[in-house]
């Protein structure tokens, strides 16, 4: 079943073309990784999906969210940011509970309970009362994942979730993401972590200059890259 | 709203507007060097020093009371002490008293924001404290003060309106007397407001332009090009 349909997406920033006609379909339960050189439009693409950026042309349709209802869209789609963007004055528990409480109408008790369950799930039970400043980068990102999950989205977007992390903490975040995917969550992950892509992706897309120029399952993607630009990219990123 | 009438009002208000500007600019011209000098002095004094205490008391009084009270202090007290000064002088005096109180803080923080390295470089070259201040520190501090001082000018123009209470014939008093004569309050206030606005807004525009130009030029000092 198609969860996400993107057609003809285009976006320019001044004279710079970030997206140059992108088409994409995502099925329920599918895990898509998107990679590419910087400036290729990866972040812009997923930010257009939850409308943090407004596309200039093209359509984005998320199943179950009628066009024009921005809030409904954002409740079905969760996002995890490169810079975590936790709310600094709220504890981990409060960060996770605030949106369900204020937007879904859960009572404080219900929201807190949900937060505790999610903290457990991301291996952070016991850190509920800590402020973001008291957590490591990897811990903060896991709280951010829990915060997005608290809204019970059908699709999770990850915008370079580990790029701002110390190498030691990258693993703990990726593990959470792998487990999430194995549990059936539909996800699109923009990342350079090729190990993760190989392990956890159903398909990998390669973007260059605003277009998806290659899309294939991991085996084919790495062993028989279907596009010369991709060949060069993989050489650079894998061949140290 | 009768444009002809408003035009006439504007013409009649120009001389009092001139008085407003003279009052404000004179007060600024006196209060700014005073503030800078006292601020620089205060920056070097330990808190317990009597001069420091006196300066702090002045600032405390000026910031903790309305300017109207400070105007009253000069207007009512000086005659009691035997001083009969012209209204204009008392007006400028009150504005200076007030503005210097705020500019001491501006001056102090401007002096303290000049990097320590500047003092050390000058000392290493053999300059004494007074010469260092005069040659190197105060000029740099002055550059940092432009924005706040222009803002202070805006504040002075606004504060000058309060001098209307002691019947000094500046812009607000003049507008008040015109409108109480012909009762056409709205139109007179619009003209008065317009005149105040173009000057106050104009000053803040000049301030931003000056600040931008000076910060481009002044960037040199922070990069430590002085020291060897």
């Amino acid at each position: 079943m198609t969860l996400l349909t993107v057609r003809g997406l285009g976006k320019r920033f001044g004279s710079f073309t970030a997206l140059d006609g992108v088409d994409l379909d995502l099925s329920r339960g599918e895990r898509l990784v998107i990679c590419g050189p910087s400036g290729s439009g990866k972040s812009t693409l997923i930010r257009c999906i939850n409308r943090l950026e407004e596309p200039d042309i093209g359509t984005v349709v998320v199943e179950g969210a009628p066009a024009g209802d921005l809030q409904a869209l954002r409740r079905r789609v969760g996002m995890v940011f490169q810079q975590f963007n936790l709310f600094p004055n709220l504890t981990a528990r409060e960060n996770i509970a605030i949106a369900p409480r204020k937007l879904l109408g859960l009572s404080r008790a219900e929201a807190d309970a949900r937060a505790e369950t999610l903290l457990d799930r991301v291996q952070l039970a016991g850190h509920a009362d800590k402020l973001p400043s008291g957590l490591s980068g990897g811990q903060q990102q896991r709280v951010a994942i829990a915060r997005a999950l608290a809204m019970e989205p059908v699709l999770m977007l990850f915008d370079e979730p580990t790029s701002a992390l110390d190498p030691e903490t990258i693993r703990e975040v990726l593990d959470v993401m792998v487990e999430l995917g194995q549990g059936g969550m539909s996800m699109i992950v923009v990342t350079h972590e090729m190990g993760f892509a190989r392990r956890a992706a159903d398909r990998i897309g390669f973007m260059d200059q605003g277009r998806i120029v290659a899309m294939a399952p991991p085996r084919e993607f790495f062993d028989a890259p279907p596009h010369p630009r991709l060949v060069r990219f993989l050489d650079n990123i894998l061949g140290h | 709203m009768d444009p002809m009438f408003m035009g006439q009002v504007m013409v009649r208000l120009l001389p009092p507007l001139g008085l407003t500007m003279i009052l404000s600019i004179t007060a600024l011209a006196i209060a700014t060097p005073l503030g800078l000098a006292l601020g620089a002095r205060r920056a070097e004094l330990p808190d317990r020093h009597p001069a420091a205490r006196a300066i702090d008391a002045w600032v405390f009084f000026v910031r903790g009371t309305p300017i109207l009270i400070q105007i009253f202090a000069i207007y009512f007290l000086l005659p009691k002490l035997g001083l009969q000064l012209p209204l204009f002088i008392m007006g400028v005096g009150a504005l200076v008293l007030n503005s210097a109180g705020y500019q001491i803080e501006i001056g102090r923080s401007a002096v303290q924001s000049v990097p320590q390295g500047q003092w050390e470089a000058a000392a290493a070259l053999g300059f004494d404290r007074r010469a260092t201040l005069r040659q190197f520190i105060l000029p740099q501090a002055a550059r940092r003060m432009v924005g706040p001082v222009m803002n202070e000018l805006s504040q002075l123009i606004k504060a000058s309106s309060v001098l209307s209470v002691i019947t000094l014939f500046e812009l607000h008093k003049a507008a008040e007397s015109i409108s109480s004569a012909n009762l056409r309050f709205s139109e007179v206030i619009v003209v008065e407001g317009f005149l105040y606005f173009i000057f106050i807004f104009g000053v803040s525009l000049i301030a931003s332009v000056l600040e931008r130009r000076l910060s481009a030029a002044g960037a040199l000092a922070d990069s430590g090009s002085f020291a060897r």
């Binding site: 921005l70 949106a99 | 407001g193």
Partner: protein, 216 residues
Amino acid sequence: MSFDWAAFFEYLPRLIRAAGVTLQVSLLSLGLACLLAPALALARLLGPAPLRAIVQAFIEVIRGLPPLVVIAFCYFALPKLGVVLSGFWCGVLALGVVGAVYAAEIIRSAIESLGKGQFEAALALGFARWRAVLEILLPQAMRRILPPLTNEFANLIKASSLLSVISVHEISQVGQSLIFETFVVIEILVQMAVLYLIIIGGVTMLSRRLERGLGA
């Protein structure tokens, strides 16, 4: 010249009552400002371009006028437009609007200084833009807002002295009439100054305590 303590105590009760009026006017206009300011800040941050322009123009105009002119407008010009308020309520309105305008700028720049990240995180969770600003960003910005805001409140209290020109019986008006009636100068001036220093000093102390509470 010696200090006339008898005169001092004779006029003290009247001035203390006037201080009560000063406080009333200041607190009411603070209340009005606290209601108006977030609305103005929201309009500036999130509104459609025409609204943003109008609000910005309004803010620039009020900031570009002496408070006395705003007060005079409320007292003399508004009645011609059909709005007749007593001196006291003109004062509340005028000071409330002026306070709101300065507070709105403080709020707006504090929220902008928080950076886009948290705003986007709130949006991504599904908060509408105005709710993201009010319920996520504003509480976070409080620590940056409170010090300048308390300074503005102190300015408001000082501006209340200007209401003496529209016969509101606050400290400056009562003090000034007393001086004219009785020719007692120093004793009354001292009382006025001390009353203001106490009120404004109290506000400053309260704000420091509040700041410490927020910093926890």
